[in-house]
Symmetry: C2
Subunit: 207 residues, 2 copies
Amino acid sequence: MGITERKEREREEMRHLILQAAQKLFLENGFEKTSIRSIADAIEYSPATIYLYFKDKNELFLALHILAFEKMMVEFAVVATIADPFERLVALGRQYIKFAIENPELYDLMFLMQAPMEALACRDEVWEDGMKSFDFLRLILTECMDKGIFRNDLELDSTCLTVWSYMHGLVTIYLKKRMDMFEDGQQMQRMEESFRIFIEMLKASFK
Amino acid sequence: MGITERKEREREEMRHLILQAAQKLFLENGFEKTSIRSIADAIEYSPATIYLYFKDKNELFLALHILAFEKMMVEFAVVATIADPFERLVALGRQYIKFAIENPELYDLMFLMQAPMEALACRDEVWEDGMKSFDFLRLILTECMDKGIFRNDLELDSTCLTVWSYMHGLVTIYLKKRMDMFEDGQQMQRMEESFRIFIEMLKASFK
DNA sequence: TGTTTTTACTAAACACTGTTTAGTATATTT
DNA sequence: AAATATACTAAACAGTGTTTAGTAAAAACA
């Protein structure tokens, strides 16, 4: 009998429906204005129904967080075609900035909000999405080191952390409106120039 | 007649009382659990009273944000005694990490939360506190460049932004629990190692 | 001094929020 | 056909930021 299968399918469809509505509201109005009630309204169900498919708001945000990482990884994939690992690293950096600026709410959810991390902590799970993207960077840096572009006496993971920290800091300062020391119209150029300086620093630090 | 003076003094005292209670609750329970009502309870006044002294919660958070910057600048002052500008820069970096780790809620308020920036935007004011601390970094980097430690063909402000971005990114990744790719006990060592790598990069990038 | 005006404050309400509970139709199984 | 399980919801609970209308006390004015 296929009833249990159909029920499981229907359950999955409902989860998908909730998630799609949540994502839409999230991207349109920001996460502060996305309430359980507004999601329920959008799909024409009662707020209580959402709790039959997600334990709480953290779980819902974790699901959105996973979708966001999928989106980012798809956008990152375009750099894979670049043969030279250092050029690939630079291209990845530009993609990272691009993604953050074009998806500020998603970036927040992925790297700043505590909601998804709390959901993971409740489940005793590790941050798989974060680790996967960290691996993506690690692979590129490994190639750079192997090709002798970088000095390889530096610990790989800590070097990855250094690169990511810079990128994360740069876009976070921008997204969180902490770039007021530069005129409004020049903030993007400043980011560009800072990025070039960092790339120069990376290059220069490896004979 | 000194009545208006006394009234002004009393008004200032009340603002201070509210701010002290707010800061206490903020540091003890985090900003998410610090409500206008809980502050009102703590000082034994009605919630509506707080609105006679602060326009809204953003204004209240802006006031706390200013106090937080004062605290940070006091802690930064200790590096001023270091003669060598590069050593001073390294010491400032360590102070920055120390401050962020010891005052995670304050760091959030200063560099991530939108509340204080919204209050500033309402008032049409610039982010003076941020600019002052940026100047502090700029001064040190200027000295480094003057003494020939750094190449000085790089734009000063963009170089400052690069250094700050790295520091900000590093501590934010840590504070926002995004360092799960490293075991719990080794996260501090990883930060230390990354910091050393960044310092090496800075050194190496200037002949 | 007595009267009017201003000041300081609050109770209560408004419109929200996440979440839980108890109950109701419908679908499935026995 | 009766019993059980499923899917869903109305209503409530305990919060949130904020506003409004009203009240005592203080200050200013006559």
